[in-house]
């Protein structure tokens, strides 16, 4: 099951091949992208669907639950 609490993503840069798959499936309704064309890594994601991590061909996306944050409830 995906985490229901907001998360912050990290990208294992040496594994990332900049394929764009993570951004393609991202449910955010506004730009949520890093300068290296991955999902944003410095902004909490309140949706936490984890689609981006699931589609990564090299498993380069990890996450940390944002401590103390309210649950996202599936809304951006």
């Amino acid at each position: 099951m995906p985490p229901r609490q907001p998360v912050t993503f990290s990208v294992v840069w040496p594994a990332c091949i900049q394929c764009g798959a993570c951004v393609a499936v991202c449910l955010q309704r506004e730009t949520f992208i890093s300068p290296f064309d991955t999902i944003a890594v410095d902004t909490p994601c309140r949706i936490a669907c984890m689609y981006c991590a699931d589609v990564c061909p090299t498993s380069a996306i990890t996450h940390q639950v944002v401590a103390g944050a309210p649950e996202g409830g599936g809304q951006p």
């Binding site: 091949i17 764009g20 393609a24 991202c26 589609v55 061909p57």
Partner: protein, 380 residues
């Protein structure tokens, strides 16, 4: 510098370069911009394109981008039984298509756009979009410096991760079930024979297929695309395909010299490709063949349609409104969209089949018949 354009195209891949080329050829003032300093990088594509596609879109075949001619296909069932469809056996002497070097191919297409009169900005990222007074106002970071350009129409040709589409409210995320997570290795030590080889089977590539494409003397592409598999990533499947499948002996001497990957939308095309002052083309509009995952042909054709449409419509239209630009959307659906929609239905039905053997058989049957000379999807 005057920063008013008829058309600003964001993304200089095949769709964007074709749009820019044909719009400029029609006499429009066109700016083509791309965030990269080197077009086509990182490579996210196997680079297979048909000779028909190049001819239809006025792209001369050039040694600058061709790495190997292709004369047919070989489709493998899950267990290894193969159906070769070699058009040389049918008397074909000219290549059926090519595997191209995407870095050189994209640069070549962009040079065609420049030759037609388009202006090119590299290291230029679109970061904001507004509309005012009948114009689109695009915020661009060029070499990190923010500036504005205005256009009657902005064309989002910025790929599967389209941020222009997102800014315009046209883009919706690709459903994970429709996003092929692709990885390919360029390898030495794997023999090929001028055929595009495709391997079906959930055991090898669940939700997609694996491929072996020729990549020039002594080299091949070995890759696969999978759709959302919560257990393993595409790399795991590719390593397993190369080391454990019925093909493993063929890869025994493979040495990886490049790693590439992409997200391919095996999805229905966008329901709306036009808004006020904006249209989407190529992967940004999901104009991709959902059965093969091929996107170069559809990008070139869609870009040509978009550029020619804008060339005709803009001089005559008082405003680049959604109602005006919907003409491109309708044209696209009539020429290409209906066929792609049918292919999407076929693909969805195949992967909805719960029985693994029947699913594998259905995909094998579909791909085999797709590549036959009498396929009704021959030019899709």
């Amino acid at each position: 510098m005057d920063s008013h354009y008829d058309v600003v195209v964001v993304g200089a891949g095949p769709a964007g370069a074709a749009t820019a080329r044909f719009a400029a050829q029609a006499g429009l003032r066109v700016l083509l911009l791309d965030k990269k300093g080197e077009l086509g990088t990182p490579v996210q594509c196997s680079g297979a394109v048909s000779a028909n596609a190049l001819a239809e879109c006025g792209v001369p075949v050039s040694a600058e981008f061709v790495v190997e001619p292709v004369y047919g296909f070989k489709v493998y069932a899950s267990g290894g039984q193969a159906l070769p469809i070699d058009y040389r056996d049918k008397g074909l002497t000219e290549p059926l298509g090519y595997v191209v070097d995407r870095k050189r191919f994209d640069r070549f297409l962009t040079r065609l756009a420049i030759a037609a009169g388009a202006e090119l900005w590299l290291k230029s990222r679109a970061v904001g979009l507004e509309r005012a007074g009948g114009w689109a106002i695009l915020a661009v970071e060029r070499f990190g410096q923010r500036q504005q350009v205005t256009a009657r129409v902005v064309v989002g040709a910025d790929g599967v991760m389209s941020q222009v589409g997102l800014m315009a409210g046209l883009r919706s995320p690709v459903p994970p079930r429709d996003l092929a997570s692709c990885l390919q290795y360029i390898v030495e030590g794997v023999e090929t024979s001028g055929l595009l080889e495709v391997v079906v089977g959930r055991a090898h590539a669940p939700g997609g297929y694996a491929w072996i494409f020729p990549k020039g003397p002594g080299m091949a592409e070995v890759g696969l695309g999978v759709t959302r598999d919560l257990g393993h990533d595409a790399r795991w499947h590719l390593e397993r395909f190369m080391s454990e499948s019925f093909m493993r002996a063929r890869f025994a001497r493979a040495r990886i010299v490049e790693v590439q990957g992409g997200g391919v939308p095996l999805a229905a095309a966008h329901k709306h490709m036009a808004a006020d002052n904006l249209i989407l083309v190529g992967d940004a509009a999901r104009q991709v063949n959902p059965i093969t995952g091929g996107g170069i042909h559809t990008a070139l054709r869609s870009g040509r349609m978009a550029g020619q449409f804008l060339g005709q419509a803009l001089p005559a239209a008082p405003a680049a409104s959604r109602a005006t630009l919907k003409g491109y959307h309708d044209l696209w659906h009539a020429e290409l969209g209906h066929a792609l929609a049918e292919l999407y239905q076929m693909k969805t039905a195949i992967f909805a089949e719960a029985d693994p053997d029947r699913q594998d058989a259905a995909l094998y049957q579909t791909l085999s018949s797709y590549f036959l000379p009498d396929s009704r999807f021959k030019r899709v």
